[in-house]
């Protein structure tokens, strides 16, 4: 006598499909929300005349060079010269904290074609040295 082999049911239950989809969506949502937003905070004060220096440090950003108070230089020379200038500003005696803050203002004028990564590099250097950035733009 032949015994029939019982066929095994291997299909997953269809009712679990929506639960699987639900778990998958949660997984992808969590992955998507981990998108990194690390960066640098930057303080650009609103145009407040009380805190403006009469003779601020002037920086011009061009595509291939920088100007510090009109003098053309590269980024390394710019960093050392600006550091000296800002250190001198903070050492001044007999000045109020507001006056000292105004002395550390760096007026940044940028050529219109300078890309964002270069602008970011220069302004980050100024901030790291303790300068406060004031954007200078032509009024149209």
């Amino acid at each position: 006598m032949k015994l029939r082999r019982q066929s095994l049911l291997t299909e997953p239950p269809a009712s679990a499909a929506s639960d699987i989809a639900f778990i998958l969506i949660i997984f992808f949502l969590v992955c998507a929300s981990v998108q990194e937003e690390d960066g640098r905070p930057q303080e650009i004060p609103n145009s407040d005349k009380q805190h403006q220096s009469k003779n601020p440090i002037r920086v011009n950003i061009e595509r291939d060079h920088l100007k510090l108070n009109g003098e053309v230089m590269g980024i390394a020379q710019f960093t050392s010269k600006l550091k000296k200038r800002l250190d001198a500003a903070s050492d001044a005696e007999g000045k109020t904290s507001e006056a000292l803050a105004a002395e550390r203002t760096v007026a940044v004028r940028c050529s219109p074609t300078v890309p964002y990564d270069r602008w970011m590099e220069v302004t980050a250097t100024i901030e790291d040295l303790g300068g406060t950035i004031a954007l200078m733009r032509k009024v149209e």
Partner: protein, 142 residues
């Protein structure tokens, strides 16, 4: 002779709960994507010593096609200032930053690294004028 009223079974089929949750999730994902800028293509500039933003109230982006977005929605750059803060607006219409106190006025800036200054500088100035606290979204320098 008293006829007994037949009881009506009005239970919601519990089998459908998974499907309902699934559809609700899809609905909320689509809603969230509208005010999200994760679909934008931005090549980030590099910098060192990056920090995480304290708040994520607003994001302003310029993508690799040099188009400006506010919270993932395309905007005319000239309208950004008033969209962020409108001092003449009535209650509830003072812009996205409205009357939030300092420390809660963070504006994330996601700008493509090749964007020229004539496009991104007006945005930075508009954010500063609106009292926004700038946070440049960058990539760690390797």
């Amino acid at each position: 002779m008293i006829l007994q009223r037949r009881k009506m079974n009005a239970d919601v089929p519990s089998m459908a709960m998974g499907d309902i949750a699934f559809l609700l999730l899809i609905f909320f994902i689509i809603l969230a994507r509208v005010s999200d800028d994760s679909h934008l293509k931005v090549n980030k500039a590099e910098a060192e010593e990056l920090v995480k933003p304290q708040h994520k109230r607003v994001s302003v982006a310029i993508d690799n096609k040099k188009i400006t977005y506010l919270n993932g929605v395309r905007i005319n750059p000239d309208d950004l200032g008033l969209a962020l803060y409108n001092p003449d607006g009535g209650p509830g219409a003072r812009g996205i930053l409205g009357d939030f106190p300092p420390g809660e006025r963070t504006v994330l800036l996601k700008i493509d690294k090749d964007t020229p200054a004539y496009l991104f500088e007006p945005l930075i100035q508009a954010v500063a004028k609106a009292g926004g606290e700038l946070h440049h979204v960058l990539e760690e320098k390797k």
